[in-house]
Symmetry: C2
Subunit: 323 residues, 2 copies
């Protein structure tokens, strides 16, 4: 019952003036009417890269080939996405069906809006849906908190009652309402939709390439995140059309996609393999502490806090995995 630990921890938070959990000392005086929350840096700050370097094999979980979407661009770039079926199962199943139908052959990246998103795909209105695609998926914008094992971040959030990590995913949740949802951190992948929530089947996707647009949370289906190759999206010229769409009248050319496949459908010898640090590992807790209290010789004043989207859950290639 990891959630319960989270909640009682949070209640202590509220009563004590919302101090950081990593520092038991140096709590603010709750009688102060001026202090809302006071980050309290840890003594002997931690270097996150050292936590990763010193982690054990058991601190990581594999990315399942069925959840690994591999987008190859015609210019040679490769963007690798982990899908999150626990949060948007129908949309993820649709994405798999689109991949297996070669839906994205000859598709393009057609929108790159600075400090916001890059978007790609084929227009769903212009072609029949492949077999297995649910044409009006439900609005999978949140899910029940039950069934998740959430490690609470331990710092306040500007958008949600609580935030933390579950299975390596940055999530927000509302203990009272009982919902949890994937958040729009850097690299998050979502399903483009029209104004009606039951539109957006998964044939047009976007990835966050700027400061987390958390106002999109719970308004759109978030289906995963880019775990390698985000720069093949983020370093692209920005579109000068409305909302960053490439304006072909100004000779701005969409970026051709060669193909998008599931790793599960690739020959074993070609399959890239990744691992994500487990949220329930001690290593991850040390990593979060380090992100909130940066060690090394550069930082003179560790922050004593970190926001959900600046944690940057570690991902690594499995040794010997193809590039």
């Amino acid at each position: 019952m990891r959630q319960l630990a989270a909640f009682s921890f949070c209640a202590a938070f509220l009563l004590a003036g919302c101090a950081a959990p990593a520092a038991e000392e140096a709590r603010p005086d709750p009688s102060s009417r001026y202090t809302f929350w006071r980050p309290a840096p840890v003594e002997g700050a931690v270097e996150p890269s050292e936590v990763v370097a010193n982690s054990a094999a058991s601190d990581w979980r594999p990315v399942e080939p069925e959840n690994l979407l591999v987008m190859d661009l015609e210019d040679g770039g490769r963007v690798v996405i982990e899908l999150a079926p626990d949060f948007a199962p129908v949309h993820v199943a649709n994405v798999r069906a689109f991949a297996r139908a070669n839906w994205w052959d000859d598709a393009t990246i057609y929108r790159v809006q600075d400090n916001y998103v890059a978007q790609w795909g084929n227009n769903e209105a212009e072609a029949p849906m492949p077999p297995g695609v649910v044409e009006s998926p439900p609005a999978e914008y949140e899910r029940p908190i039950e069934g998740l094992s959430i490690r609470p971040l331990g710092f306040p959030d500007s958008y949600a009652p609580m935030v933390g990590h579950s299975g390596g995913w940055p999530v927000a949740f509302d203990p009272e309402g009982g919902e949890a949802w994937l958040t729009h951190c850097y690299g998050a992948v979502g399903v483009g939709r029209d104004l009606s929530p039951d539109t957006g089947r998964g044939g047009e996707l976007y990835a966050v390439i700027g400061h987390a647009p958390r106002h999109l949370d719970r308004n759109i289906a978030t289906i995963g995140r880019v775990i390698e190759g985000i720069a093949y999206l983020s370093a692209r010229p920005r579109g000068t059309g409305n909302l960053g769409f490439y304006d072909e009248a100004k000779s701005e050319r969409p970026i051709p996609i060669a193909r998008i496949r599931l790793a599960a459908d690739m020959p074993d010898s070609e399959r890239p393999r990744f691992e994500v640090m487990r949220s329930d590992s001690d290593a991850f807790s040390a990593f979060v502490t380090g992100r909130a209290n940066r060690g090394g010789s550069f930082f003179i004043r560790p922050a004593g806090g970190v926001d959900l989207c600046n944690v940057n859950v570690p991902v690594r290639r499995v040794a010997g995995s193809v590039a």
Copy 2:
């Protein structure tokens, strides 16, 4: 005494369970031991772009030509930066001295690290300092809160006791300690330094091109922000060297800068002119409300909160300003 308004407001916040100020109704039950903070969306959400469109002339302040740094790249790109002398006066004076000595002629953008920073300038170790440059500037990483007029954001922050806006700048502050500091939001410009805090004169600068690296706050001199042309930095190829430095051994070429000038030193006919929305205007309060409670036909569930770096203080060109 705007700060006092901020503080008493914040105290009410703490007592009431930290609900959003924009919504007087729908406060959470403070007796709930599970709720840390519950965003409360505003009825009839607001479209931020409409707030800007309907603003009055008095809702804006001009950017002073002495605070406007214009970086022209050899490929034709122009990056425009507003300097913040109220936060780092010695470093800003140094930057002006560097500009007036043509320090950056033939300089380059030599580092672009994904989801972090782009950095440019000339190596300060390799040339004599121009006249007027203070060689060991003080560590201007924070300043007294006195003298600032801060509009509190009204939502919790993951890094600082309080955050808000002062003069159009996104600031964090500690009412108890009495310090305020500029934050590393998207587009923030800071002074590169070595490990010792009294290094970094202003001849090498960086801009944030990713999710706000707020852990840098109070660890480095933040001197302003990019108000136009950030994509000339953010859309560049990422360097594959350590920390995103361009690796010339791999034929990655730094991006040449033509020159960097102060608008004050440009002929009147060539000077670009900008305005920033005033933080103390009603329009800005409406804008923040809109950023926290997005209107329009797309959003089905306004967030009821916004983080400091997702407010995106409005900037506009003065009508008739040269491009």
